[in-house]
Point group: C2
Chain length 107, copies 2
């Protein structure tokens, strides 16, 4: 398993709504994530909207995102989530995840 860390930025005035939606992520979306190898996946929020993601996968972030891109439900979720994020360098959030460098690990 590889450990992946990434960052995204939620708009300040959308934080509360973003959090609500993430308490009830569509079951079909959760099933797709599982199927595509997103394990032990957590999202952490800083009060300014900075969102840190952590998950474990047998592949890379790129491959895990690419596999999700083949899932119909993902296109709908990404479209739903796009307005919640600050200016992305990509057209939807999953393509704009900034991967972080792992600089330390202790099992």
């Amino acid at each position: 398993m590889r450990r992946i860390g990434f960052v995204l930025k939620v708009k300040r005035d959308k934080i509360a709504e973003y959090k609500q939606h993430h308490q009830k992520v569509w079951p079909e979306m959760l099933a797709a994530l599982r199927r595509c190898g997103w394990h032990n996946y957590s999202l952490f929020m800083r009060p300014d909207g900075t969102l840190f993601g952590y998950f474990e996968t047998p592949m890379s972030l790129q491959q895990a995102v690419a596999d999700m891109a083949k899932e119909e439900i993902n296109a709908q979720w990404q479209k739903f989530m796009t307005p919640y994020f600050e200016a992305l360098e990509a057209s939807q959030p999953d393509e704009g995840m900034q991967e972080l460098e792992e600089v330390f690990h202790l099992d």
Copy 2:
């Protein structure tokens, strides 16, 4: 196990050195972390020096930090690391970790 996310900020001109030191963290420090319940502990770095920490513990961040504070080696490590961090609201990095809110989890 609880999942903990936290953030700290490394000075830009100290990033390379910080990373080097974290490739060879003192074995006594690693042993103390294990003893104090810091499991599956990773540190991820954004290019601007933002440091995202993730670990799993049976307790809270406060308790995990408090237990480490009783370890002699931790005082030495924190003193060693203090100059690498941007202005902390505390006197040493372990006391200045900003805990993040977990807003989503998938096992």
